[in-house]
Symmetry: C2
Subunit: 197 residues, 2 copies
């Protein structure tokens, strides 16, 4: 088996991704050099360009990791709620907003993702494990059941997702993130209420 080397390779790749997440979250994509990343991962630039085609692709890997993490948390929180769509959406939104308190989520997912990757790569949500998909699925079901009236559940998903992202951004940039988190959460909840009737 090519086991020894493959395992080492995976390990290096993960180390690079982890280092990238930390540094991108801290200083942003453009201000972080590949040298810094590899130094933090204990490797060299050669290793980086062996595992990733370019710096953008490393960012994509970092983004995917961050997104997947949120997805898992949201799903874990919403799963035990059965088919009460209103509550599932409410708690999912809450978990998402909480995640927006983390710097990595703020900078990588909310702030820089659309700019670093173009829209081509960013907006095609083919990614199976992204929070947006969860929102889309639940909203579509709500519209199907007639719980929410909307010309298009897809359009509504986009609007709500945009509102959530903005809420996250505001929370992230606020003087008192916790307090802002609370009030944004209430307002979103009110918005959901006005949709569900």
């Amino acid at each position: 088996m090519t086991n020894r080397k493959v395992a080492q390779g995976e390990h290096s790749r993960d180390a690079l991704t982890a280092a990238a997440i930390t540094l991108f979250a801290e200083k942003g994509f453009a201000e972080t050099s590949t040298t810094e990343i590899v130094e933090r991962a204990g490797l060299t630039r050669g290793a980086l360009y062996h595992h990733f085609a370019d710096k953008d692709q490393l960012f994509e890997a970092a983004l995917e990791a961050v997104e997947g993490d949120i997805f898992d948390r949201v799903q874990a929180a919403a799963a035990p709620l059965g088919d009460d769509l209103r509550r599932r959406l409410g708690t999912g939104v809450g978990v998402f907003l909480d995640a927006c308190l983390e710097p990595a989520v703020q900078r990588i997912l909310l702030q820089e993702a659309p700019s670093v990757l173009g829209w081509e790569r960013w907006q095609r949500l083919d990614r199976p494990r992204c929070a947006r998909r969860l929102l889309a699925v639940n909203l579509a079901e709500a519209v199907d059941r007639g719980l929410v009236a909307a010309p298009s559940s897809a359009a509504l998903t986009h609007l709500l997702y945009g509102a959530l992202v903005q809420a996250g951004i505001v929370i992230a940039g606020a003087e008192d993130p916790r307090a802002t988190r609370t009030i944004m959460g209430e307002t979103v909840d009110r918005l959901l209420d006005s949709l569900f009737d």
Copy 2:
């Protein structure tokens, strides 16, 4: 008078800003070199760094121009509607969504602004002529008059603005922007309706 030189200076500054808007809209901030910008403006890099401290500040000028333009259009469309807040918001939103069909608005305002400038500079809405302010003012008045129920008009402004931006992004990236513009407009309108009652 220091008239001759000053006028020339303003002219150069405007030429640089205009060239920057075109190129940033076309290729994005990171992919556009200062050399390209000055060539298009018929100047040299020296002139650019005379008028702007760095490339970021040039982006800021470009953003301000784009934002101001939208602001003017939104205000012009909403002004003759008197104090019918619901209609003012509706038409303002429509004009904004139409503006999202333009590449410069898409890339500079919607896509890259938060990334290129940090949140510090982006989110402080001190800018007097930005579309967001109009939304805030109108929503605040609506809440004041009791037309809209919300824990905080500021929070609601953020959510709606986020929804609008996302709508703009979706419109921009859609296969058929016109059709998407229509359906997003309808959905936003429905959302406004559910707020105003």
